[in-house]
Every structure is written in structure tokens, then in C-alpha cells.
């Protein structure tokens, strides 16, 4: 039987992510990116994500969507959705018109002021093809980022949506998250200060 085509996606474990930006910086260093450009973004998210207040972060990059809005918007066809799920941007075709940046609900594509072209994460496709993991995956000190095959993953253990993160159904974002667990908070005799 022919092997089923893989559908690569990022799986971010929010229970592990400490918001340190090691992923952002290692990617920037490895790909020699213009300093104004990040292919990965680490954001602080609601302190109340799990009820009791605590520090929470989301680290995301391009979501390699099933229905990529960037590709639809691009007038030169610079974006292609590969069979393995990766949305690849071809800089040679890019004319820097920024239509993709406007269209992408996650604001992913960024304008490189030197190359005058857009730039975005390609899931280190060359590395994946060579059997290596993407740079952010191997750099994250907490091992919070993984590449998974959406055909294999147990979707009941993960989520595609988070508060403050655009609805995954719009473009079919492939990124999945493991939600953080709650922490019991004891402070000043108040068991949990949700109510405060």
C-alpha cells in the first residue's frame, strides 16, 4: 500500500513554552534575517487562560493553512501549498505588493526592506526534506515546538483555536496547541484569586 501523504503542522505545547524567544532568535540567526523580520512570534497572552492568573505565552509562525489566504491574494502566484502541507513562498516571484500580508488573518508575511520582498516561515522545508527538524524545533530549550503529521495526530488532545488568535476555520490553520494546565494558586490566604 502506498504510504499516505504526510500533512506537516506545528504543534506548540503551551504547558512548556516559557515565552523566551529562543525560537525567534535562533531562526533569525540561522536564516540571517533582516532585524525587522521575525518568522516566529512569541506573544504574551491572557493571564487568565486557565482561570487562575499566571504568565502564558504563544509562540507561532506561519500556520501553513489548508486554504491559505496569502496564496489566494497573491497576484503573481508566489505562494504554493505543497502536498506535505507546507505553504511555500517563492521570493523570485514575489513583487513585494504586500497583498498577502493584508489577507493573512495572522499577519504572518513580513516585508523585507532590503530585498523589497515578502518573507515568511517555510517550516524549514529543506531541512525537513533532509530528515532534519526545523531550527525552532531543535533550538527551543523547553522542547515546546514539534512537527506533527495531521493525518496521525489525536485531535482530541490538542486545539486549533486560542483566545486572541484568529479563528482557525477562516483559512484552515494547521497549527495545533497543547493547552496549559491550571496552577493552584495560594496567596495571602485566598485559595484562588479569580474573584479578586
Amino acid at each position: 500500500m502506498a504510504k499516505k501523504q504526510k500533512r506537516y503542522a506545528f504543534l506548540i505545547n503551551l504547558e512548556r513554552c516559557i515565552g523566551c524567544n529562543a525560537c525567534t532568535v535562533s531562526c533569525k540567526s540561522f536564516y540571517d534575517l533582516h532585524p525587522s523580520i521575525n518568522r516566529r512570534f512569541v506573544r504574551e497572552t491572557s493571564e487568565l487562560l486557565t482561570g487562575t492568573p499566571k504568565r502564558n505565552y504563544i509562540s507561532t509562525s506561519c500556520n501553513h493553512c489548508d486554504r491559505p489566504a496569502c496564496a489566494t491574494a497573491c497576484p503573481t502566484g508566489a505562494y504554493i501549498k505543497l502536498d506535505n502541507g507546507i505553504v511555500k513562498h517563492n521570493q523570485d516571484r514575489c513583487i513585494g505588493c504586500r497583498m498577502c500580508a493584508t489577507a493573512c488573518p495572522y499577519g504572518v508575511p513580513q516585508f523585507d526592506p532590503v530585498k523589497k520582498k515578502m518573507d515568511k516561515c517555510d517550516m524549514c522545508v529543506d531541512r525537513l526534506e533532509a530528515g532534519e527538524q526545523p531550527i525552532c524545533v531543535v533550538s527551543c530549550p523547553l522542547e515546546a515546538i514539534a512537527i506533527v503529521d495531521l493525518n496521525e495526530i489525536d485531535e482530541s488532545q490538542v486545539v486549533a483555536d486560542l483566545p486572541g488568535f484568529a479563528d482557525s476555520s477562516i483559512t484552515g490553520s494547521s497549527t495545533r496547541f497543547i493547552l496549559p494546565k491550571g496552577t493552584t494558586v495560594v496567596r495571602g490566604g485566598i485559595k484562588s484569586w479569580n474573584t479578586l
Partner: protein, 259 residues
Amino acid sequence: MKKRRKQTQSRISNETLRTNPERMVTKLEMSSNEMETPVNENELQANETGTAAPVNPNEEKLVRKMALYMFLAKFYSGNLLKIDREMWNRLGDMVREEVSFFDHEKMQQGSRMIIQAVNDAAELEFDFNRLFVGPDRLEAAPYESVYRGTERAFMQAETMAVRKFYERAGLSLVNKNREPDDHLSFELEFAGYLLEESLEDSVYYELYEAFLRLHLFQWVERHCELVREKTANGLITGVSYLLQGLMEVERKQMNVLRR
């Protein structure tokens, strides 16, 4: 030996250059390979005894430019910091002499300022270091990469592109990897070198134009303007006008607009 090629042979149209500078560089790579072959001694002799070719007005200008590049490169390398007022007076006059070949207001303004500002020579070193050397954060860093791409980090793509250019012309920094390749004094010295070589092999002139287009034009004028924002020193300001003027002269000749 076909050391000196005929102009027409190695001409690549300016059009090709504009659209595909890389191709031109490859071309030069070939030519510099050829240059590895030893020079025919007889030919050398013949030249030495022969009468110098008549001075062509274009070549005359070219030599003036070379001189200015050399002056600017020496200035940026910090070699002119310790010279006294007297020497600046003489240098100023000489620069004016070179500049007089170009009918360009900025260049002339630059040379006038240098002559008028010789009194600033006393503070030159302090101001120069503050702008270009340190130890504090550089106020007008003289590195290409700082103005392009990798702001305030060199030895990244931008610096390496400059290094590659040098290497394709068969050169490498004596202090390679100890000093960044894209320091202004090196780029200016290199431009002067290309001009000098172009007297013999026109392929170097094409390379010169490509180097300006790909590198010097990409940042030097912005650098000069930044310098003037950051210092009142007349000598440094004068040099900045001179350098910017030289770039403008070349832009005009090459028909490259500033973006």
C-alpha cells in the same frame, strides 16, 4: 600575451549590467583567472620605452577620481588623524585641484570646507572616533551593513556580499575576519583599485560600475547625510560633501537615480 584586451571584446552592455550584475561578476571571475598567466616580459619592456599614450580626457578624469578615492579611503582608515594644520592646508589645496576637474557644486563645497576648516584639525581625532571608531556606540558607523539589512550586526549577508565581490576581483583583505569587509575605507580603496586596473583592462571599469551600483550607491550618501547630522567638525563635514559629490558625479555618468 593577451594581457590587455580590446575594449570591445569585454564590453558587456550597461543594460545587461543593470539587469544582471551577477553575470558581469562571473565574467570578471573568468577574466581574473586568465590574469593568473605570467606577464610577457618583452611586452613590459616595450611599454616602458614606448611613449606614453596621449592623455585622453576621460582617463584624466578617471585618475582624478582615483586620487579622490585614495584620499577618502585614507581619511576613513584613520590615517589622516594625526597630521597637522600645515599638512591639512597642503592637502586641502591638492584636493581642490583634483576637484576642479569636476563641475560639481557638492564636491567643490566639500573642498572649500576642508580648506576653511583646517582649524578643526585639533579636534578631528575626537570627533572622528565618536562618529566612526568608538569606544562608545558609533554615531555614524562607516559600515555598509549598518545601513542595509542587518542593522548593527556585520559579518552577515551584507558584509559577505562585499567580501565576495572583492574575491571575484581577485582580492581579499589583509586583515580578513579581523575587520569587517564592508568598512567604508576598504570599499573606497577597492573602488580606487578597480579604476586603476580599468586603465588597462576595461572589464574592471564594468566591475567598478557594478560595485558602485551594488554597494556604494546603496548607502554612502545616506551615511554622508548622517555624518553631517552628527558633527559640526568642518573637516569631516567637508569630506562628507566631497564623498557625496563624487557619488553624485558617478550617478550622473552612469545614469543611476538615487532611490
